[in-house]
Symmetry: C3
């Protein structure tokens, strides 16, 4: 199933509008090109209306949030909603600052996100109002592990009901949860957290998968498995994190539907 | 001839002021260092006057255009003009949004660009007012192919007469056209379009070549051949797009005047 | 000694707030992750108060200075000072424009920087008011060489007394100078200047070393030796500058305290 989604993505070449941070933006663009989509970055309020309209999907990432672009994000999200385009939110650093937490909440209030993707601390900050202590990385105490996986799913399901979005939490175990379905994905490697932007890249390719899938939850599952699997295939014990980053994007470029289908490690919960 | 231009560039080490987008800016800087120039990025209206003045050339790229920097672009362009420095415009996404199209036109009205470089859809949007449907990539229907190459040159020559700029259009076949001369370049590979920023990198190194050449059209020809040739030499069937990007910049670094002279594939039209 | 600082850094994983330029920001983030720290980038005045407070150290880099973020820099610096966090200034391009020179001076007036790190032309511009002619690179006439090394140290010592900061000047010979101590470091390679961002990366990892060291001057020494040594180990005659950049970050990732201790080439002056 998920292999077909990738094959379909490569056929339709979705054009994805990214309003994203300036730290990982180049990797997001190359990851999107690698997986078979086409990126366009635009964040000025005067520009985004037109750009959102000609695109097929929208990625909003608040990694270097500034007050200039909050209005652009809201405007783009509303247009994407009105056109029925998939749109996703990556609430980078929610919980780490009031501006990030409140902006993410405002975006969730004003836009119907198809998917919200973050680490567990970010999602907790949005769902519970708890503050994170480790900036843009998840707190160790929040980590999803075998022992608390069902609790985590129940928590995410509640947040999915409240928001109407598929909730994707990435970490040692990735979870994809909506009102009716939950998947746990066990692809990926811990070393991916030493590469800046693997989360952002996932959020950038996710909208392209959503364009190619029958349901948001299956599109999100395919994207999460793809990113994790490429992280596995790209890994070599002797590489540093910069070579590892290059190879992860290369693997996205070479990934076939068949390889994805065979390598995906997920289970329905 | 064009080999000598590169040799000369490496001798004079032109300092190039880039007002460019935040997506590909690092690759532009490293491409400029690779080819033998020296980059300086600056986009604040309070900063650009001084920076343009101490540089030898100017690159204006509207890839992540925002209203804050339009004034900086105009101001820098006028200073470059008054100092007789080469300056080039890369109208990324012209035709994809009203802001981009109108800003590119305003820049062309207010600044005498030595070279305007874009894909064929962007140039058509500026010359004819037509809108592009594929964001920052060229429309397939617009592509320059063997059958329409003379029509394309005539069209670009008219635009060159109107603007006073050398017009450079890159694609499967690259064209360099001014009032009196036209070159078609057949270097490069289709896979370069799967690497984010090959167009931006060309626009960043182009001003350095203009500093080193006797005429704008010969400088532009040398830059276009250099970029395409490096794209050929860097290519390997088994690489992904991220490794390919790294190797393209590496080839710019290693490129000698002699290799460029031998590898350039161009014809006068 | 300096090997232990790196070992300690990797144990404590310092969280470093970077207000930095958009040219090299991704490399700064990956360099920080490589060396064992954790980066968070944030530049909006509404965001930086919270972010500085949850971090352990601050890096301010004016490489793409704009008027929007000057207030953020001042605010973050004052908070870092009040919390006793190490903070460093990289005055990129001071001397190349009035805005850069005056902003760097204003930052030095308003913030107690633990370390100020630049090339010799930037530091001269700040200490003497002299203007640089080569943009973001050091002027050849200013270079620190064997013949003028003691004069340079005396000059930097005066600037250190005036500012209360450790002054770090990088170039062919690196100098680390405060009121009482001076080190000359002979690690590194000239080819590092053909890689965009090696200075910025050093400034990004420097605060993490300061968090792990007993004294600012020893932390700065360890960081400078680490960057230079990785530049040596990453170098291969046949590589271009893009591969070289990737390998420099990789070497930071793999660097052990023991290797740093053995490879560091420094002398007390």
């Amino acid at each position: 199933m998920i292999g077909n989604i990738l094959d379909n993505l490569r056929k339709i070449v979705p054009l994805v509008h990214c309003i994203t941070n300036y730290v990982t933006v180049n990797d997001c663009a190359n990851a999107l090109l690698a997986i078979g989509g086409s990126p366009i970055m635009s964040d000025d309020i005067e520009d985004v209306r037109d750009i959102t309209s000609i695109c097929n999907a929208l990625d909003i990432n608040i990694g270097t949030l500034n007050t200039r672009t909050i209005g652009s994000m809201l405007e783009s999200g509303k247009i994407a909603n009105s056109l029925g385009h998939p749109c996703i939110l990556d609430p980078v650093g929610a919980g780490a600052s009031k501006l990030r937490t409140e902006t993410a909440k405002k975006l969730i209030d004003g836009i119907n996100f198809t998917v919200i993707r973050g680490n567990i601390s970010e999602i907790k900050a949005l769902a519970l109002g708890a503050g994170a202590a480790r900036g843009v990385d998840a707190d160790a105490v929040d980590a999803v592990i075998e022992d608390n996986i069902d609790d985590a799913i129940n928590f995410l399901r509640d947040f999915s009901k409240k928001t109407g979005s598929v909730i994707v939490v990435t970490g040692a175990i990735d979870l994809i949860v909506d009102e009716n379905t939950a998947y746990a994905v066990r692809n990926g490697r811990p070393e991916m957290s030493r590469v800046c932007g693997t989360g952002c890249m996932l959020s950038a390719i996710l909208p392209a998968f959503l364009c190619a899938a029958d349901t948001p939850v299956s599109g999100a599952l395919a994207a999460v498995c793809a990113m994790g699997l490429c992280g596995e295939m790209a890994f070599s014990e002797n590489d540093g994190n910069s070579t590892y980053k290059t190879k992860i994007i290369d693997e996205l470029y070479k990934l076939s539907g068949e390889t994805l289908e065979k390598g995906a490690k997920y289970e329905v919960r």
